[in-house]
Amino acid sequence: MKISKPIIKHFFLFLGIYFVLLICVNFGGGKEQFANFFRSSSSVFYQSFGDGGAVEIKPSKKDKLFDTVCILTSKHQKNKALAEARAKGLKKTKITPVKFPLNTWNMAGLSFLFFISLIFATPVDWKTKLKSLLIGFVLLYAFMMAKMGMSLLLKFSIYYERFGVGFENKYMLEAINYLNNIIGIPFVSLILAALIWLFLCFKKVSLKPKPTSVEEETVVETATVS
């Protein structure tokens, strides 16, 4: 199997664009910008979660691998702790939140960069490129938020006794864990980005088979007869 020139050309174009963007993101503060965007977006959607759940999404400075930390508490937890404190005659009490770290770049940022590079390396007009970028961003953003929502729902459900938020049912918890294991893989985000690219940029491609040699012969014969 030989690799055709256009495939090589566009593959190297894609690599060029991707590496330039990667360098810009790594050395131009793009990762931090994306992490800030992720944190603010997630906070808008998930600051209050379900029935009384509260999520604080903050930058993480302790861990090199993770740029963000999510801190989970709930009204139920606070009320329970206050009631216990009052019963003991205390005026103040402490609650133990659940914290979990996130690598926002690996979780979502990479798929955006991959998608942008694919779009710019595709030989389509600028109107299609811009339209595809816009639609793709919306879809990837929705997936990113769904992923975050699923992750939070799983964490709240695991600690249901503490928070009173999420699912108490064992089977529901297993189902959420199962789905979270699938959509949590970074490769799934990349496949999604590739699929969106194919749907948006290859729409005009016709894959209908051309007439085979037998069919062509038949056409010639018919023409001769007529």
Binding site: M1, I3, L110, P186
Partner: protein, 201 residues
């Protein structure tokens, strides 16, 4: 007069009833979407990939298929690294030495790349012979690529430890999926022109 008014009121009402309902609009949009072969193929591909992931995530498949594949990759990569003089030991899916250790976990086993290739070949209009040929080349290519990825990641961990995370997350993941797509397009390109209008791809 009252009757007349009722009759007049009925006419516009009957005209409104001709406009398609939401369900009909959705059906029309779906028909339009489905009329393009590329959309139908991609939908089938998505269905197969969803099925793959649903099976992949089950503990049974993880234990009986995924874990042994990761171990095979670890052993072959370990053998290559030893041939290169790195002096590593392999324990299950962990390649280790006094200097550096890596574990072949989900995402590093190359199975998802193979699944993309397999699902795409399964849904693409080609003869069985062409599909088998494509699968043979594709699997060989992706297995070699994944071994190369593991070996280079280990070498990066030894010689350029600061670059390991970038290589692992941002470079090899992207390269792997991009090269899988290139392999697919190459197979499509190799199909006879009577079957696929390659100029438009």
């Amino acid at each position: 007069m009252g009757n007349k008014e009722t009759t007049e009121n009925k006419e516009p009402n009957s005209a409104i009833s001709i406009t398609p309902t939401l369900a009909e609009r959705v059906a029309i949009a779906y028909k339009k979407f489905n009329s393009q072969l590329i959309n139908r193929l991609l939908l089938r591909f998505m269905g197969l990939m969803a099925l793959f992931y649903l099976l992949w995530a089950t503990p049974l498949i993880q234990k009986t298929i995924i874990a042994p594949i990761a171990q095979i990759y670890a052993h072959i990569s370990g053998a290559i690294l030893n041939l290169m003089g790195y002096g590593v030991k392999v324990n299950e899916d962990v390649i280790t030495s006094t200097a550096f250790s890596i574990s072949i976990k989900n995402g590093c086993d190359g199975i998802e790349g193979l699944a993309i290739f397999l699902c795409a070949i399964a849904i693409y209009p080609a003869t069985l012979q062409q599909k088998l040929k494509g699968l043979g080349y594709g699997i060989l290519f992706l297995v070699v690529l994944n071994l190369f990825r593991i070996v280079t990641l280990y070498m990066t961990g030894i010689h350029l430890p600061n670059l390991f995370d970038v290589m692992h997350e941002s470079i090899w993941q992207i390269l792997f999926i991009a090269l899988t797509i290139v392999a697919l397009f190459t197979w499509i390109d190799s199909l006879p022109k009577t079957q696929i209008d390659q100029n438009k791809l």
